[in-house]
């Protein structure tokens, strides 16, 4: 039973499982998230607004990682690099006088995609653990590069003195508007991501994860397909980074530290490595549990750590079981 969960689902079709794995449920999740800011305002809980925004931002970053990791089997341990680059894109553009999101966000996407595209040409030559480590190495290079940028605060980072404008309007100054921008972008990229996965490109990309030699025998070259997916994921991560820069109004190399890459992997794995929207669940669980536990006790990690172990030992636990659909 336990060895082939996918087999199970097919042999004994339950109505819930397939629905929870379907893109439609992803939209349900986004809708739930979208309810939080409105509830925050109605119930006078402004902090829910902050949390919902943060969840949306990290969900977007985790979603981009899930695209290559969950669907493509590319375990990047350097995903914080394009994420941080997106944040720096906003800061550096603002410094140069381009404060508009209509400029900053597309540039952030391109910068992240460019970084991932270029580093991907090297990283994608390797496999397995070697890939994990080379992505870490490349991200560390980016990290140290930004710590040495003294014009932008070096290791300390720098305050972004105002949020991006939209077509010259200071709409994003309003936290509610900003929250919906983040959630909106999450929804957009979730839909786009699912579409890409269902496309001809996505079919090949997903197939490569499961059986690369088979696809080679069919005439597919893995390298360019993976490179494009890797670059796209980098671009989306950078958009999340651009959002984070705007939310915290601060940019720092800490955004691209290796621990952050690890956090993103934890979110994706917790979300079950299955459909993209698992990343939303993973990000929400990590951030909300962290916030709740740390509010209870300073030593919250002594609870959170065993929790992670238990989740794995209990076979992926509820989240992964419901959403995972990991294929034997």
């Amino acid at each position: 039973m336990a060895t082939a969960p996918a087999a199970n689902d097919n042999a004994r079709p339950s109505r819930l499982g397939p629905f929870l794995r379907s893109p439609a449920f992803g939209l349900v999740l986004v809708a739930l998230l979208a309810a939080a800011p409105a509830a925050a305002v109605l119930l006078g809980q402004p902090f829910w607004l902050t949390m919902a925004t943060r969840v949306a931002i990290f969900a977007l970053a985790a979603l981009s990682l899930s695209f290559i990791l969950g669907q493509g089997g590319l375990v990047s341990f350097g995903h914080a690099a394009p994420f941080g680059i997106g944040a720096y894109a906003v800061l550096i553009l603002a410094d140069l006088g381009f404060t508009d999101a209509l400029v900053a966000f597309p540039v952030a996407f391109l910068a992240g995609a460019l970084f991932s595209g270029v580093t991907g040409t090297v990283a994608l030559r390797t496999r397995g653990v070697y890939f994990i480590m080379i992505t870490l190495a490349l991200a560390q290079m980016a990290f140290f590069t930004f710590t040495s940028l003294s014009a932008y605060g070096g290791d300390d980072g720098m305050t972004l003195w105002a949020r991006s404008t939209v077509a010259g309007q200071k709409w994003l100054k309003n936290d509610l508007t900003f929250a919906y921008l983040a959630i909106g972008l999450l929804a957009l990229f979730l839909v786009l991501g699912n579409r890409v996965l269902a496309s001809r490109f996505g079919r090949v990309f997903r197939g490569l994860k499961e059986n690369e030699s088979r696809l080679a025998a069919l005439g597919y070259d893995a390298y360019p397909v993976r490179l494009v997916a890797y670059a796209l994921a980098g671009g989306v991560a950078a958009v999340a980074g651009a959002l984070l820069a705007n939310q915290t109004e601060f940019v720092s190399p800490a955004y691209m530290a290796w621990q952050r890459s690890g956090d993103l992997i934890v979110m994706v794995v917790l979300g079950g490595l299955g459909p993209l929207h698992g990343a939303i669940v993973g990000a929400a669980v990590v951030l909300v549990v962290e916030e709740t536990l740390s509010h209870l006790t300073e030593h919250w990690k002594i609870i959170f750590g065993p929790l992670l172990i238990l989740i794995v030992l209990l076979r992926g636990g509820l989240i992964a079981r419901i959403l995972g659909g990991r294929r034997g």
Binding site: A4, A6, A7, N10, A11, L192, R195, V196, A198, S199, R200, F201, G202, R203, V204, R206, G207, E210, N211, S213, R214, L215, A216, A217, L218, G219, Y220, D221, A222, P224, V225, V228, R327, G328
Partner: protein
């Protein structure tokens, strides 16, 4: 006589100091089913890996469809029309049977760098895939995940994936390995139905299958060609009988 679709020219390969392929030359003619047999360790799999491009020979050339492909990779050879069925069934386990065949069909039908249009909306590909599935008798299993197919069904699925690509040659690496008797018969029938339309290079242990299907047989012993000829000639070749069939005839 037509030009051979595949021609191996003096192929040699060593693993370290151990020669595993020695001066092998053979041809597959259009429409022909050419079987390679040999005892275990004769270097059959190494040979097929050199043909498909997984391994590069130390010496010699591989000519496919009139082109020297010795230096080309697996994917490039596949794009030239070389399809392969693996010794151990190799399909995309998480995909449905239909999607597996569609994936194969897609490789032959335009660029895969299309990002937004759902792949399933491509009727031409889906129809071709369904047709190919029907041809191997899997029409009713189209929506089942490949992982859940029986062993024989997986082999048939692989065949469907090969067929949908309209290949110029199919490499079959022990297609009957591990299949039951009934399934072996069904598969043999399927392959026999393709005779004349599709050239095949067949590596197989099951002698019944080999002699039922092959137009020509090459016997490989210790990496070298020991004999080559019609099934009749091979059956009667004293060298082969001694070196190979003699030991294996009862197995």
């Amino acid at each position: 006589m037509a030009d051979p679709i595949l021609k191996l020219d003096d192929l040699s390969k060593n693993f370290g100091a151990l020669p595993v392929t020695r001066h092998v030359s053979l041809e597959v003619l259009p429409g022909e089913i050419h079987a390679v047999i040999g005892p275990n360790g004769a270097g059959k799999t190494t040979l097929i890996n050199q043909i498909s491009g997984v391994l590069k020979p130390d010496r010699g050339r591989v000519l496919f469809a009139g082109q020297d492909v010795t230096r080309l990779g697996v994917a490039a050879r596949a794009r030239l029309g070389l399809a392969r069925i693996f010794q151990i069934s190799s399909v995309v386990a998480g995909f449905s049977a239909q999607e597996n065949v569609a994936l194969a069909a897609q490789a032959k039908a335009g660029s895969s760098f299309r990002f937004l249009k759902p792949a399933r909306a491509d009727r031409a590909i889906e129809d071709k895939a369904a047709e190919s599935l029907a041809a191997v008798g899997l029409a009713r299993r189209a929506d089942v995940a490949a992982a859940l197919l029986s062993h024989g069904e997986k082999r048939a699925l692989e065949l469907a994936m090969a067929l949908v690509q309209a290949p110029r040659l199919v490499l079959l690496d022990e297609p009957m390995a591990g299949t039951g008797k009934a399934e072996t018969e069904r598969l043999t029938e399927l392959l026999a139905g393709l005779r004349g339309r599709l050239p095949m290079l067949l590596i197989e242990h099951d002698m019944a299958t080999v002699f039922a299907l092959a137009d020509r047989i090459t016997v490989l012993v210790e990496g070298a060609v020991a004999a080559s000829g019609s099934p009749e000639a091979i059956r009667n070749d004293p060298v082969v009988r001694r070196a190979y069939l003699g030991e294996d005839a009862h197995a």
